[in-house]
């Protein structure tokens, strides 16, 4: 992919002092990164904080950057680490909730007050059925799906970004797809019908976790 080399070249130029190169790089990746964070943490304020944190870390570590892999892999690995820090710090994920490879054992994590189900329902009311179903996925599966959709990363690259084996990444993505399809089919929604009520969100969450 030609944009891979182009991104890496831009990053190398920025590392060597060309701030215009950073602007170009930022313009290319700001949308996917923002949506990845927003749909991972499901809170606009936290997503904005994490977004700034990711770019700050990229800037701070620019001297160590080497174009050994796709730039998106490098950027989203930082984003993954920031998100994990966020979950550890604020969500206090129970260990069991993070092992999503068993389809039947994927409960939603315990969440702080600002991400209670009613708050999430309010967030989901502004979403389509598909985004509500994405929001209801366990976060590892959601992450795999978002990484592929937003950045076009392959299974191997998703595995590298999320620090897991290829089979685990593949399994997460497979479960995500199946749950999303099941959610949409069982709710019998038209493809882009908005989800307006809290009851619909609960149905999507129930389908995703069973």
């Amino acid at each position: 992919m030609e944009s891979v080399d182009e991104d890496a070249r831009l990053m190398l130029r920025y590392r060597d002092g060309d701030t215009d190169a950073f602007s170009a790089l930022y313009a290319r990746h700001k949308g996917p990164l923002y949506r990845y964070l927003l749909r991972q943490v499901r809170n606009a304020g936290s997503a904005a904080d994490l977004f700034q944190d990711v770019w700050s870390r990229l800037v701070a570590n620019r001297g160590r950057y080497q174009a050994r892999a796709k730039f998106a892999t490098y950027l989203f690995h930082i984003a993954h680490n920031c998100t994990m820090d966020f979950f550890r710090r604020d969500l206090r994920l129970p260990r069991a909730a993070r092992t999503d490879d068993v389809y039947a054992q994927a409960p939603e994590p315990e969440v702080p007050e600002y991400q209670r189900p009613d708050v999430l329902a309010e967030f989901a009311e502004q979403q389509s059925a598909l985004l509500a179903a994405v929001s209801a996925l366990p976060h590892e599966q959601r992450e795999a799906f978002l990484l592929h959709e937003e950045t076009g990363l392959t299974i191997e690259e998703i595995a590298r970004v999320t620090d897991v084996g290829i089979e685990t990444a593949k399994s997460r993505l497979r479960y995500a797809i199946r749950k999303l399809k099941t959610s949409l089919a069982s709710a019998q929604f038209p493809a882009v019908m908005p989800l307006r009520t809290r009851r619909h969100l609960k149905a999507a969450q129930f389908n995703a976790s069973t």
Partner: protein
């Protein structure tokens, strides 16, 4: 268990799910956030090179051994200072003064200088050896009857 082509079909990018996802609204960061990040990227390059991130790989490989050697040197210096420092010297310095008093008092033929003699008497008083100090003071007065003693640390 899983249909073999489900994931492959999805990964090809032409699945209904992907198409539907791409039709969704695509939020972008607010302009204020854009400005903050771009300012951050520029500010980082305005810092002096030595404090920038490029300085990190240039760290000398000799830094760690040098730091270790400096620590060892400091430790040795500290031990030497404790063993042969000023406190030990003072103790050595104090002892002959008392011995000197004893020696001089045991030899009646020795006539000592008044200033040094009075200093020894004062040292005896400071050490709480008042009986010896009184005895020395009596001898001093008999040797130098005309000399008045104004120092309160010497008088009984």
């Amino acid at each position: 268990m899983h249909p073999p082509d489900e994931l492959d079909e999805y990964l090809r990018g032409d699945s209904a799910l992907s198409c539907q996802y791409r039709r969704e609204a695509a939020p972008v960061p607010p302009p204020a956030l854009d400005r903050r990040v771009l300012e951050l990227s520029r500010a980082a390059h305005e810092l002096p090179a030595a404090s920038g991130a490029r300085a990190a790989p240039a760290r000398s490989p000799y830094l760690a051994p040098l730091a270790f050697a400096a620590s060892v040197l400091l430790s040795v210096a500290l031990v030497l200072a404790i063993a042969f420092g000023p406190q030990t010297a003072k103790r050595v310095d104090d002892a002959p003064r008392v011995v000197r008093v004893a020696y001089s008092s045991s030899d009646p033929r020795t006539v000592r200088a008044p200033k040094a003699w009075l200093a020894d008497i004062a040292a005896l008083r400071r050490a709480g050896r008042n009986r010896e100090a009184d005895e020395e003071l009596r001898r001093f007065r008999s040797t130098y009857p005309g000399l008045s003693i104004s120092d309160p640390a010497i008088r009984p």
